[in-house]
Structure formats: C-alpha cells, structure tokens
Symmetry: D2
Subunit: 410 residues, 4 copies
Amino acid sequence: MIRLNKHPSGRHFLQIPGPSPVPDRILRAISLPTIDHRGPEFGVLGKKVVTGMQQVFQTRHPVAIYPASGTGAWEAALVNTMSPGDGVLMFETGHFATLWQKMALKLGLEPEFLAVPGTDAATGLPTAWRHGVSAELIEQRLRKDTQQRIQAVCVVHNETSTGVTSDIAAVRRAIDAAGHPALLMVDTISGLASADYRHDEWGVDVTISGSQKGLMLPPGISFNALSPKALDRSKGARLPRAYWGWDEIVDMSASGFWPYTPNTNLLYGLSEALDMLLEQGLPSVFARHKRWSEGTRAAVRAWGLPIQCADEQLHSPVLTGVITPAGVDADALRKLIHDRFDLSLGTGLGKVKGRMFRIGHLGDCNDLTLIATLSGVEMGLKLAGVPLAKSGVVAAMEYFSATPQAPSTS
Amino acid sequence: MIRLNKHPSGRHFLQIPGPSPVPDRILRAISLPTIDHRGPEFGVLGKKVVTGMQQVFQTRHPVAIYPASGTGAWEAALVNTMSPGDGVLMFETGHFATLWQKMALKLGLEPEFLAVPGTDAATGLPTAWRHGVSAELIEQRLRKDTQQRIQAVCVVHNETSTGVTSDIAAVRRAIDAAGHPALLMVDTISGLASADYRHDEWGVDVTISGSQKGLMLPPGISFNALSPKALDRSKGARLPRAYWGWDEIVDMSASGFWPYTPNTNLLYGLSEALDMLLEQGLPSVFARHKRWSEGTRAAVRAWGLPIQCADEQLHSPVLTGVITPAGVDADALRKLIHDRFDLSLGTGLGKVKGRMFRIGHLGDCNDLTLIATLSGVEMGLKLAGVPLAKSGVVAAMEYFSATPQAPSTS
Amino acid sequence: MIRLNKHPSGRHFLQIPGPSPVPDRILRAISLPTIDHRGPEFGVLGKKVVTGMQQVFQTRHPVAIYPASGTGAWEAALVNTMSPGDGVLMFETGHFATLWQKMALKLGLEPEFLAVPGTDAATGLPTAWRHGVSAELIEQRLRKDTQQRIQAVCVVHNETSTGVTSDIAAVRRAIDAAGHPALLMVDTISGLASADYRHDEWGVDVTISGSQKGLMLPPGISFNALSPKALDRSKGARLPRAYWGWDEIVDMSASGFWPYTPNTNLLYGLSEALDMLLEQGLPSVFARHKRWSEGTRAAVRAWGLPIQCADEQLHSPVLTGVITPAGVDADALRKLIHDRFDLSLGTGLGKVKGRMFRIGHLGDCNDLTLIATLSGVEMGLKLAGVPLAKSGVVAAMEYFSATPQAPSTS
Amino acid sequence: MIRLNKHPSGRHFLQIPGPSPVPDRILRAISLPTIDHRGPEFGVLGKKVVTGMQQVFQTRHPVAIYPASGTGAWEAALVNTMSPGDGVLMFETGHFATLWQKMALKLGLEPEFLAVPGTDAATGLPTAWRHGVSAELIEQRLRKDTQQRIQAVCVVHNETSTGVTSDIAAVRRAIDAAGHPALLMVDTISGLASADYRHDEWGVDVTISGSQKGLMLPPGISFNALSPKALDRSKGARLPRAYWGWDEIVDMSASGFWPYTPNTNLLYGLSEALDMLLEQGLPSVFARHKRWSEGTRAAVRAWGLPIQCADEQLHSPVLTGVITPAGVDADALRKLIHDRFDLSLGTGLGKVKGRMFRIGHLGDCNDLTLIATLSGVEMGLKLAGVPLAKSGVVAAMEYFSATPQAPSTS
C-alpha cells in the first residue's frame, strides 16, 4: 500500500487551506463497499446528501452535486448560464478569482476583471490581493452597463489565496442598487461550512463549492447551489454543455439519483460529514473557525509579521496569509518546515508567490492542532533567521486559554 | 454511519457490469488520510498512476486522468478535438453508444448515427443491439465523405448495455482502407482491464475509460488515452473547454501533479489497483474474465434463454445480457432477486428496458461468486415462473470444474 | 501491508465454523483510533458492551469480558470455581470437550470424562462424536456421587468439531433430579448468537463464549456469564488466579472499566455487533441460522453423504459435519477446494481427523454465500472422484427458494 | 458506529504512556478480513511476527505471543516458572511493580518486595517511586539467600507509573555477583520498541511486554521472550497452567500457528508495526524517543515543576511524570485539560495518586504533537492557577529546533 509520509513517525500536520484534515469517521465511511448507484439503497443516500447540502448552503432551492473538483463547478456555473461572447464582471481578489477569470476566457466569454488598484506600500504586493471585493466599484461599473452586456457578476467569497472573506450581501445590494439584471455567482469553495454563508438570504444565483474544505472530505465532489432565476436563465444559455447540465442532474437528484455514475464512496463521506456538521449546528461550526482564526492572528501579530488580509473586518475564518520579510523566500521556508516538522503549509500563489505562506485553520482541527502548527511555523521562522518580535505560540496559548470554545448548539 | 444493505445478514452480491466489487485492499487504501496535492509525496503518487495507466492502456503516449465520471471523459474526448458543427460518425451498438451520441448533439456537433438495420426475428429487439460495430458500414460511409466533414469515428469497445465487444482493430483498418483522416475515438469504460485493449497497436486516437469496472475502484476517476495525432488535432479544435483541456493536464501530470485539485483518495485506490493488476499480469486478468464469461454463458444456454449478444465472436468478457421470455418483466425479476437474495443485477437500458437483464462478471470476482450469482438468477427465474430447460448452475459448475484458472503470469 | 489471499481475484469464502466472516461495519469499527481505557468515553463503551452481552446471554447476572481467546474463558471458569484436586464431570461430545477436559487435568483438577460408548457401525467413528450430551448418563453418575466430590458438570453446548448441539436444559434437570450441588458450566463458544441460548432460564452457572463466531468479530475477546451461585462458589475456590479473577473484573466492569488494559479496538467491534444483533432481534438471528443449516443438510443428503451429527434433533444451526467416504482423505479434499475455489472449510479434529470436514454457516452469511460454499464442495467432491447421488447445490436452491427468510422482528 | 470523541472537532491527543497513538497504516491493517487461523496464509503471518518480535527483543530464543493484555504475560512468566510457595524477589519501583507483586501473592507465591527506603523530602513522595531498581540491594539480598529459596528476581524495566527506566544489565550483574541461580524476569511492557532493550545480551530469562506502547498497536497482544534456562526451569514448575503454557505455544508458533485461536486481526497490525520499526531501524526508534523525552523535560524544568524521576541517568524515553505543587490535585488538572483541550494525560497511580500526572511521548508521535501536548499542559496549569517559572513550550521549541532528528538508519 502506498506510503504517505516520508517522516519517520507521527501524524502529518495538513494545515493548508484545503484539503483539510479528514476526520476518521469520514475516512471509514468512504471505505465502505461501493453499491449500485441505481439501486434502492442509493436513492436514500442521494436524497439525504442533496437535502443536507441545502441546509449547509442555507437554501430552499436545488443543489447540483458533481463528481468533479471545485474547478468543474466553476465551469458548471458558467456553461449553464452563459452564451458565447457574454460579458461577465469578475473581481480580482487573488489567485482563485484570477483562475476563474481565465476559465471564462477559455470558455469564450468576455470577462471584465475589476480590481482595487494600486500597490501596497509596505509590502509591494498588489492592493487588490490584500482586500475584498469592492461592492462600490461593482455598482459603478454596472451603472455604466446601460446595454446590459454583463450577464453575471462573479466573485469569490473566501479567497483561498489571500485569506480575505468578502461581503457578499453588499455585492447583491450593489447589483440591486444599479438596477442591473446580472446574475450573482459566488465561489465559496473554501468558505462553505466554515464561514457563514447564506445563499437565499444574500440573493446569490449560483454558489460554487467543493468537498475538501469545511466539509472535511477528500477532494472530488463539487456543488452548484442555484436560484430560480439562474435555473430560468439556463434555459436560454447557449454555451454547449452536457456533463455539467443542470437540467438532468437537478431533476434526477431530487429523487436521489444522478444522470451518470455518481461518486458513490465520496457521497458516503458527505453523508457522514453532514451528520457531523448539522448535529453540531452551523453556528457552532462558524464560531469554531472564527476562534481559530483569531488565535492564529494573535500569533502572527506577536511575531510582528504582516497578515496578507489588510482589512480587519474581512479576515478569513478559514486561513491566514502571512507575509515574509523581504529576502525570505516563503517557499524555502515552507520546505524547511515540511522537512523538519512534518507540517504542510499553503504556498503563495500567483502574484504573491514566494512572498507569503498560508496557514489553514479549518475543518477537523482543534486548539492544540493549531498551536502545534504555529509552533512549527515559529521554529521554522527562527531556523530561517527571521527575527521575531515575540513568541506567537505564547500569544496563541494566551488567546485560546482566555477564550473558551462555546458549547455546541445542538 | 450510513447503512448500506437492508438485508439482515451477509455481504451484498454486486454483480452489475460496474461498479464492480471493490477489493478490500483498495477500500483500505482510499481511506488513508488525504495529503497536500502540491506536496512532494503527491508527486510520487501522481507519476506512478499515470505511468501505470499507460501500461494498462498499452500505450506509450499521454494519459489524462480526470476527477470525474466516465461521462466526463466522453465529453473531454469531444471538446478537445472538435469544433462547433463538426461531423462525427458514431455507431449504435446500444444504450451507451446512444448516450454518447446525444452528448455530441448537446455539445453542438453533428453526429451521424450508423447502425446495423433491422429487428431481430426471435426477440423483436433491434438487431443493432445484439451485434457489434460494423467496420464495413463505417468504411462505406467514410468513402462517401469525400469532403471529409467527418472529423471522428466514435465507437464503443465493450457496450455495457448489451455485452457485445466490438473489434476495434477492424475499425481502424476500415478508416485506413477508406483513406480517411478522421480520428478514431473509442469508449472502453467497461472494457479496460477486463478485455484486451491496445491503444497504440490498434491505432486509436482517443480512448475513454473509467475507474469503476475492471480497475475495481469506486466511480469518480476517468481517463483519456491520447495519440500524437489527437494531441495535434486538439490545437485547432474550437469547442470551448477548460476543465477537460488536455493541454494543462497532460503537461502537469507528467510531473505527477494536476492543474486543479485531483481526486487524491481515489488515486490511492488507483495506485493499489495498478499494483494488483500489473503484478498479476494483464494476460492473466484478461484470461480470468474470459473464463467467467464462458461459465456464465454455459449457464444461460442451459436455462434455454437467449443471450443478448448474438455474435459468438463478440461475447463480452465483462457481462452477459440475458433476454427474458415475452411477458416476463426483467425489472420485476431483478427486484425479486434483489429483495430475496441480496443480489444486484444490471437493468435493461434504453431500447431493451424490461426485456433483458445483465450479469456482471468482472473485477474482484471468482468462480464461487459467479456460481452464487447464477444461483440467485436461477432461483429468481423459477420463482418468477420462467420455465428453464436445465440447471444453469450445474452447467456452470461443470464448466468451472473442467476448466482450471490458468496460473498468474507474474 | 500483508497479503491475505494468494488467489488472484475475488473475496475468500471463509466458511469454517469460526472465525466467521466479519461484516464490513465491524471491520471499520475496530479500525477507529484507540482511546484511553481510563477516560470518560471508554466508560460509556464498557457499560454498553457489558449490558449488551447480558441480553445476548439472556441473563440478568454479571458477564465478565476477557481480552483473551475462548480457551482463556474455559480456564477462567475453572480457576474461579475450583480447588486443586476437585472432581469435575465432563462429557465427551467431540474435540473441544476433549480439549477442555485436558485443560482441567493441566490445572490440577480430576476430570471424569463421560461418553456415550461404542463405535458407529456405518462409519467406524466413535458414537459419542455423533451424538449430544446424555443427561441420563450425567444423572446416573451424579446419583452415585454420594460424597459430592464432583464440583461441576462441564458440557459443550454446540460442539464445533461435530455439529451437534446438546440440550442444556436437560442437563440442568438431570443435576436437579440427582439433587446434586455441582455447578453447571457450559461452553457455547460457537453457539452464542447463532443458536438459542438462555443462561438464566436454563440454570447455567458459568457460560463460556467467544467473539469470533455468532458475534461476527475477529478472535480475541471471550466471556464468562455467571450465576450468583457461581460467584458465591468462587469465594472459596482455591486454584490460584489473577488475570482471570472474577472479583475485580466483575466489580469494575459494572462501571465500564477493567482492572487491566482491555482490548479496546475489539470492544468497538463488539459494540457494533451488539447494535446489529439486538436491532434485528435474537429470534431472527436464531431463525436465520436454523434455515441455513437446513439448506446445508438438504445438500449433504442429496449428495448421499453421512452427516456427522446422527441425531436429527440436535443438528447444529452453526455448522454441518460431512463424513467423506472411506478412502477419501477429507483434508486432501479441503486443500483441493481451497486451492481451486478459494474456499476454507473446517478440518476434522481429533478422533475424526481426515474422515470428515465441516461447513460453517454462521454469522454474516446469506443464502447465496451458502450456495457458493456448497458449490465449491460439490465441485471439489467430484474432482476428488467422490460419486454423488445428486446435486446438493440444486437441493439447496430448492430449499432456499421454497423457504423464505422470515422478516426481522425489530 | 460508536462516537469516540465528545469534543466537537479535531483529533484527540492521546498522550498517555500507553495505549499510544496507533498509526493509520496499522489501523487499516487490523481492519482487513479475518482469515482461517489454521490455513496456509496464516502460517506465513505467524512466522513473520514471531521472527520479527525476536528482532525487537534482541533475542535468538523463542518468543511466546499471547492473545491477552500485558497483565496476562506477567502471569504467564510466573506460572510457567514457579511452584506454589516459591520465593520471588521483586523490587518496588512504582505502581506496576506493586501490581505484579500482588499478582505473585494471588498466585500463591511468596514475593519479597525490596524498595529503596524513605520519603522524599521535597515532595513527600516515597523515595522508591522516584528512583530505579537498586542492583546493590538485590545483590545484598541474594547473598543472604543461602538456601536459594528465591526462584526469581522480578523487576520492571520502564516503570510506567513513574517514568524511571532501570538498568537491567546491572541487575544481571548483581545476580551473577551473588552467584545466585534465580531467574531474572523483566517487565518492559512500556519500554519495548521505545527504550533500548537487549534480552540476550543482558541475560534476561523472561521478558514480558505488550502491544499498546512502543509497538503502536491497540491493546490485546502480549509477549514472553524466553531464555533456554527459563524454558528448562518451566519443566519442573508446578503452578497449574494451560492458556499460558509455554510448551505448546512455543512449539506451534515456530511453524506460525497457535494452540488456540490467536488474535488474528491484531497480528495483522503487529506485522505492519514490525515492517515500520525494522525498516526504520531500532537505533533510530530509540533515538527518537530519547529526543522527545529530553524536549519534554526541558519544558517541565522551564515550568519549574519537579519531575517524578529523580535520577538523571534513568529518565524514561517513554514518559515523563510531573509532580504538581502541594494543593493542586493532579487529576482535577487532568480533567480540566481533557475537557478543554481534548488531551488525555496519564493519571498518578497508587502512592502518587493526585500528586502527579504523566505525559506519554512514545510511539507514533512527532515534535509538533509533543509541543501541542506541552501547550495543553501549560495552558491547563495556568488555568488551574499554578505559577510557572517560564514557558515550557518555548523551552521545548528551543530544544527541538536546536536538535534535529537524526536520519533513519535504514
């Protein structure tokens, strides 16, 4: 059987912003024998996971579940709603927003990529990558689109490359204020089931998500939560589509089945994850992530290093980006920490490559896991010769001691 | 944890033509902890599975591995090679050939659907659904395509809905004899690693396959094996594509990584499956399936029921379709057998719905599993009032006793 | 990881009379992470399994659970109740009764080994090994023991070496009729949770059992169900004991803990097994085993081979012993069947070695598993040149078709 | 399926001195299907684990493997070598030495319990519980035993209740210096595969060990490593024995089988553990534990708390006992830490109950796991109001940073 850890002993610390550590219960569930995806037992499973995901998305409308990565669900959102050459307003918040925009180009759309302009004085990094979506800029742009060429506004809720969580309700208000009919499509691949997310209340038309983050599953399942308006729009959309087509998948999965072979064993895991999350209550889940993110930031501040997210209100509950001092290659640091302390951290992506690393604090974690993670980072920073103001680990211990986890709501 | 078998006791017999029963070794492998898909351990895994799949496809050329069902790999083959409105010559061998043709339509292609004409006198079923691809009809059609509007010939190697395995080398000879530049694209989703399949030797340009059949994995991974000609053709193909794009996935997976998040835990299973299959040797694997298929047919003949595949040379090593007598609803029979004997059989699909059922004999099976399966069918047929000429179970026991399994070649 | 099946493909058929096939749910449960056996979560588990085992033994009195094989629980029964040189009346029903008697000798007791005398005319095998415990002989012997030197009557309920299930209530009546104070100690290692067993109602003082039979667990846990009289007797018993001592283990496990480190992961499995068995209802479990045993005997009778159990009333619901014709080495036959059909059968033990083999039909089985098993035996018998009257497999199919499984009672 | 962690999220930190955290590879291995313990595949497994355990004990002589807890292996050592009323010289090093001595009493032996006398001034704890075995006291006592009533010297190598590792070679030298024929029997249940241990070189006659510590398995397997002298002595020993009898188990397990049903699934785990340990090399394993123990002690010293082991040379590589200040109930502290930080620590046992707790640093751990553990302790101590001199976590980070893990030797 494959060897998964070259380290001589102990459990690997997987503290990247997804895949997150998968709980033992879920790993056992996905190892149960595969069943007939057309048989009676499957239908029960299928209905359960669709219904459960509606609760997680906080929606009463259909959720399409794909046997695919999150990138596939991005594509599904676009090909179901758009026609060749359609304008799409996207917003640069980091690497994943950029990848989505590149996908729109590949699919023959005409994305326009808004961004907060400028470069951050202190770090030399793009300002856009340290802040969230500007609803104001979106509103301004939509107001100018008098011919309504823009068919959708596409934004990333929790930008995994930076650790900034944007205000989605504000984007909806901006669209409405502009009186624009564009769909609102939101990627919360890394936000769902960690950060509060309200598909219906926030007026989102298509929400994209994936399995390997807050849902605590291995990668391989992704989602589109829909609005009636999105479903309606899809009827006239002319981008070719088959695998991603909402029509068949939405109809069939209402009865617990799929138009093609679903990802049976990962759906076992999804069923187990839903049991865990819903039993505990989403508010507890959100509170837990918020607490971890605050403990992590306490550590980073104690070290005296800048946090990638420059806007206090928008700190992600899922991950924290840490900017390394000029001259310190963040990836060399990550390698040192991996080799020495068996800890995986997230790399800097795209425009911040080498300048920052990312600490994941999501999913099946707890206080001690995070302190261990922070200790690996702290030891690594010191070994790399980075001067630290104070011990971040001590700061995190102080935070976690002083701030008990609220009890589960269920 | 989810309950997977409503029967009071014992192991379910999953004898549909896929998903096939997943070996315990593989189930344990997919339950290992998820790792960072950008980390050093992943690269080793990634390279291993790509290289191993080349051996299984019998190709020296690239293999793209998708986190998606087989249906996705069909789409990948088309969108990477075709432009809107392109002609595609497809061949009706059954339900899956039909679905692929419908997909081509959805994607904006112009499929032409060849078929052996007529209706079978004895059963009233379409002749095309009891026979294989006619290389002769293909050659005739291509010779007429003097303007070369046909960009690809698409055929199903092992038609899962009928149990007919077509001669792919003959199709290649037909294309060559017609002097036609069309690509040859072949679906062997249910044939790979059960029936002999030679991507390079047979001159296939794109082979499509999936994980949940001969590879003995849960569903969720699919494949495109490519030829240099296919890769070259993809450069000019204008169907929009992103998730399925060969360019990035082929380049990156040569170094063991993927352009988006791969299906890590199922890849653990693929690694284990490759160990099992390649250690044993593909010839042994093919011989094993051939033997099971012969034992199964011995049983069906003893019962006196017609086999869906009417061409002795083309009997599938993977499954056997059994036609029920007029007036016997094959699905009611399947339900009786499932409820009473905890055995899942494949349903009749499309034009043969209710008229036949399918017995899977693939993957992690053995003689006793198949005899058990045949006994469930025999008891079910009798309980349904179907008169049987003789005991098929006795016939199968005679066959399996008289025909020892050849030893593994490794 | 260890390779467990030298056969090239498929699932091994483990049809020995224990260990029985372990359900997937239980295998997953025993693989959960080990916890602190002194911590709060353990206490919940400990109490659950003790209480559940009381239901399975049908007793209101304490059950001691040992991290040990069934052989250990035999020893526990003796060392807790006996003093050096004590007389014990044991009854020869087969190999396991013989082993228990040898153990009594080793422990310094004076076992007397009663048996039905004589040799079976047809087979040349000892009559005692084809019949059950004779309550009459026991009563006669006890009546002669006017000085009450006999401290215990020890019998095997379900003799695993022969497939004979003795009438325990009759033994109790015999002891009472003789007015003798001896304890009644019963081994139902292979009978519990397959054959009806009533510790309290039948007046048993110590019942011995183990995990790897009807409880569907791997080996490694064993049990002593106690009566107040047995507990009282243990206070004066002078055989040295520590590990097996009831005093500490009974006291502590009432609160869910053990005096030494318990077998944590197997207890996870026991918890899961109890969920499965009690949810379904013991009467259903017993009915299922009875049905399998009748189907199996239908096959053996069709072959025309003698069944080891010569007493129709006492046929075991757990296993069936099959006597091979003179000149046919039963172990050579078993090897042939194992090598050729990946089926494990039980060997003949002790006085019947080489003359018979045993078919287990217990635990996590179903009709098709048993038909597969019988087909392996039938093909093996034919390959070994044994003339068979008729097909036993056909006979079993007829029985199972004609006799539906009663629905679960829960 | 059973719920194993009442905490809302994350992996439990099991940092008691056994059971130690079980690696995922081993948990998967023990969940493989149970096989026939009399079949051919079992024999290969059986021989492998016996041979492997000889390497781990560093012996060429037989090793008996019991399906039982370590307590059972204590009993095995005594009942195989002793006769009723035999004198045994035991040495009080802590709770487990005391339990073993109580067992000797229960078994009808006459243990004499030597101890370093006195009470520790600083802590009020027994001096004997802060130090190791005194070879000098043993030699003095044996010299006085001119009639050789003492049949064995029994000592604990790694006293799990205190964290003191005694010098076994010195005990052998003492016995030899006294010219005394007593057997040397050593409990290294918690030392094996963590601390260097040399059965042959140190002249040990019986070594007792168990599965759930350095071998990284769940509890349920235990061991007796033997010397020719011990085997010889067992022939005349008159304590009754059956389950524990070396004769049968040693003979049979040489061919890979057991006289009664072995603990099959845990033996799968043992096979996997041996692969892990021997591949890495025992010197690496010992070095790893030594390093962790030094890092842990650095933390305790920084806090300013006394370490239970008062002898610098004898600090255990497996665990560290920490004495709480007068007035601080160590068990209340442990409960606080468990409830708040999901961390299990070892309780104070016997004479030190409530006065100390134990940190396990053994088995499948790594630097970050231990820092996490120390952080849980540090936060707990502060929350309990214990004044700490400095941050132990910072001290441990300094130690682990400055002291790289030596590379694996294999």
